[in-house]
Amino acid sequence: MLARTIQRFSAVAQRGFAAAAAAPAKNANPDELRLTFASPDTAVFSNAVVKQVDVPTLAGMVGVLANHVPTIGVLKPGVVSVTTTEGSVQRLFVSSGTLSVNIDGSCQVLAEEVLKVEDIDESAARAELESAQRASGEGSEVARAEAQIRAEVAEALIKAATNQQ
């Protein structure tokens, strides 16, 4: 009797808000990594099977392979590298956004802005870095913090454009 009650309670405890959303896709092989990589106006990968994804997050660089432990994270400005099953590597710059890796092998990288590394305007980024650095020493605490963010993003853009990252 008691055992049955505990069992019923544990079944209730396992149900979360995202239970429906996180339900594993039908016919999906959990031993492969399926990537969805998108910004609000473009989808770079849509549930495509890939070999590896390297994502810069606030907690550090995260490399995701198949059978990765479920993870969530927020993106840092930097380069996302996607290794396809054929072994070719695609490098794209992301401004910010979220990363989620699910138990069924699906992985979502949702960025606010996605840019091909070749499309970065390096001189514009250098100009932005300079103006941000000048602004980071003056004004209110909030203005200084915002300038620091601009400098960080510009630095990441320059690094990405010059292949340092």
């Binding site: 609000p40 400005p77 401004s95 910010s96 840019l115 499309d119 514009a124 932005e128 200084r144 620091q148």
Partner: protein
């Protein structure tokens, strides 16, 4: 703690600034790209006492 978080900013603001700078530093028409933002449509229906207002 990160400096911007200590200053009272949240990640949404961080993301907003980061996206703005990234748009600014795009090769294809830098000026235009900075102004361009993803389009969004918002429709608002007002309800009062269980009836939709027109």
């Amino acid at each position: 703690m990160v400096a911007w978080r200590a200053a009272g900013l949240n990640y949404v603001r961080f993301s907003q600034i980061a996206a703005e700078i990234t748009r600014k530093c795009t090769k294809a028409a830098p000026g235009k790209a900075a102004a361009k933002k993803p389009e969004a449509t918002l429709k608002i229906n007002v309800w009062e006492n269980g009836k939709q207002q027109k």
